[in-house]
């Protein structure tokens, strides 16, 4: 933190951390709100979604490349952990390490093959990879148990201590989710994170400053795989039973949509997305027949209302007010300023992030 810079400089650095503290704060507060077995089960699922979306945010939000492979990687992590625990009797702790490594390697392989492709083609390569993984989960019966799923996964344990109590299972996932959020935050504000975002904003300029697009995006995609591996292993040890249907194409779409709607690229996007996904799952329990239809409508309305995601929209409005305050010397947060003043267009067509990609 630089002391002698004026308030704006200092405020900028702390604002980013503010979004990280929201994420960790929620992870701590949720079990305090309601700690029945059922709520803890919900919070655990929410935390697993948070890990998945934090990983996806690195490639989708920061690097600006849509990936439909996250559900496939999520499944690969779950099966890697489940199989090593059930078929090869690996202790759960070791399986929790093996799974992310396996998924990262596969993600790097897919990344090497598809990273040079332009936006939509990269997305379709990830769709293909995700779908091949999903089909293999259902077909390789001796290894994965096929459509019947993999039964008899032991609970997570370190040494003799078994994590069977719901509060302990939540604590395990929440701690890893918080750790994941901190690491993602570090990357986001670091030079690497900036370079990744810079690459999304202007390819030529990023090359000119010496940022290697291929290496950066491969790192982001590999990391998103690592996060999915951790989330998969936790899902395996939490549910103690995994079957292919949880990792299908619809889940891959839901993950991307939840992140885009909540604000890809922002630190607070993943936690909002995780809450949304868990809310939908709980909501779906009551209105079974109409659930797909309702979810589709909410999703379309959200995409139309917020091309840059909820958090993106809220942040943009906050920045509008802050800049107007700066220019006209009003105090920050003076809400009397006229709402919705449009930005001054720079010479080339309006360069909102949305248009630029």
């Amino acid at each position: 933190m630089r002391g002698r810079r004026d308030a704006a400089g200092v405020v900028r650095r702390r604002r980013k951390a503010w979004e990280l503290w929201i994420t960790i704060g929620l992870l701590v507060v949720l079990p305090l709100i309601s700690a029945t077995d059922y709520s803890l089960h919900i919070w655990t699922r929410m935390a697993i979604f948070l890990i998945l979306l934090t990983g996806l945010n690195l490639i989708q939000g920061v690097a600006g490349m849509t990936s439909l492979a996250q559900a496939g990687f999520f499944g690969l992590g779950a099966y890697a952990a489940g199989i090593s625990a059930v078929r090869y009797d690996l202790p759960p702790l070791a399986a929790l390490v093996v799974a992310p490594v396996v998924v990262t390697l596969v993600a790097l392989l897919v990344g090497v093959l598809s990273m040079r492709l332009k936006e939509i083609y990269f997305t379709m390569a990830t769709l293909g990879a995700g779908f091949v993984l999903f089909l293999l989960f259902g077909r390789m019966v001796e290894l994965t148990g096929g459509p019947n799923g993999l039964v008899g996964i032991p609970p997570f344990s370190i040494g003799g201590l078994e994590f069977t109590e719901p509060i302990m299972r939540y604590a395990l996932v929440a701690v890893l989710a918080a750790l994941g959020a901190v690491v993602a935050h570090n990357l986001l504000v670091s030079r690497t994170g900036r370079a990744l975002r810079a690459y999304g904003a202007s390819e030529p300029a990023a090359l000119a400053v010496g940022a290697s697009p291929f290496r950066l995006r491969l790192l982001a995609f590999g990391l998103s795989g690592f996060y999915a591996g951790v989330a998969g292993a936790l899902e395996a040890f939490d549910a103690r039973f995994i079957s292919p249907s949880t990792f299908d194409f619809m889940t891959a779409v839901l993950l991307v949509v939840a992140l885009v709607v909540s604000g890809a690229g922002r630190m607070v996007g993943p936690i909002l997305g995780a809450l949304l996904l868990t809310g939908i799952e709980v909501f779906a329990a009551d209105y079974a027949d109409y659930e797909p239809l309702i979810m589709g409508v909410i999703f379309l309305v959200a995409v139309q209302l917020f091309p840059r995601g909820v958090a993106g929209e809220l942040a943009a409005r906050w920045e509008d007010r802050r800049e107007r305050a700066q220019r006209s010397g009003e105090s920050l947060g003076d809400s009397s300023a006229p709402a919705g003043t449009t930005r001054t267009d720079v010479g080339t067509p309006a360069m909102t992030e949305e248009l630029r990609r």
Binding site: L117, A125, G128, V132, E203, V260, F299
Partner: protein
Amino acid sequence: MDTGLLIQVILSGLSVGAIYALVAVGFGVIFNATGAINFVQGEYVMVGGLSAAMLYEAWDVPVLVAIVAAVAVTVLLGVLTEFGLLGFGRLRTPASITIATIAIAVIVKGSAMLISDRDTYALPSVLGTDSLQVLGASTSRQTVLNLLLAVAAVAALTLFFQCTKLGTTLRAAAGDSETLQTFGVSYRTTARWAFVIAAALGALAGAGLAPLTVMSFDSGTLLGLKGFAAAMLGGLGNPRGALAGGLLLGIAEAVMSGYGAAAYADVVAFVVLLAILTLRPTGMFGTARAVRT
């Protein structure tokens, strides 16, 4: 070498391939006009087939009338899709339009589930059910009709894109829709025409597929993804490429079912998609386009 099996594999591949080709052409039309991937394309096939079968089974309407009505219903759905995507004027980049088509696909499938009450419906073939024996293998007249349908659709579209005014505008839109607007061509009208054509193609594919199997609200999704793989194989946006891609993909799956591990037949489509994207993203006949960064 059992030639009967080889012929049967090829015939089966062509039969399924014709449907993939029709879906692939649909993807191409929308990609040319908007640059986006239309995830609703698979559901157009479902809506076409399902509405034809429901009209036939529920109200005993002659098969041909049911098919024509089904095409009309699907075209209306196409116009609604365009409105749902571009009507609000907020989505501009292909990426955001593509994500919005996913939302609409979920809505269409959800509504179809409610309307069809999760039931399955069948539509008899216009040409009767007895099979044709060809060189020791067999196929159905419906398959021949589907093949003719696919070839005719591709030929018509190729001519349409080349010769008609609207066709050239649709092709130009693929290049740069902003400049097109400066020539007074409304981006919305070209997009609407593109969705009408794609929906009609989808409905025809559905009506062609229904007699071969049964239709349910769930029949569209996987078919859409495989149709996209075929479009990529042939070269996205190129009608002839879509035909070749569809037939080749159908035959590849049939070979896997006939000779390889039949259970993995479905994996073929996505392995092909991955291979094409990494080795030759413009596909076999695609125009060299800025595909790599």
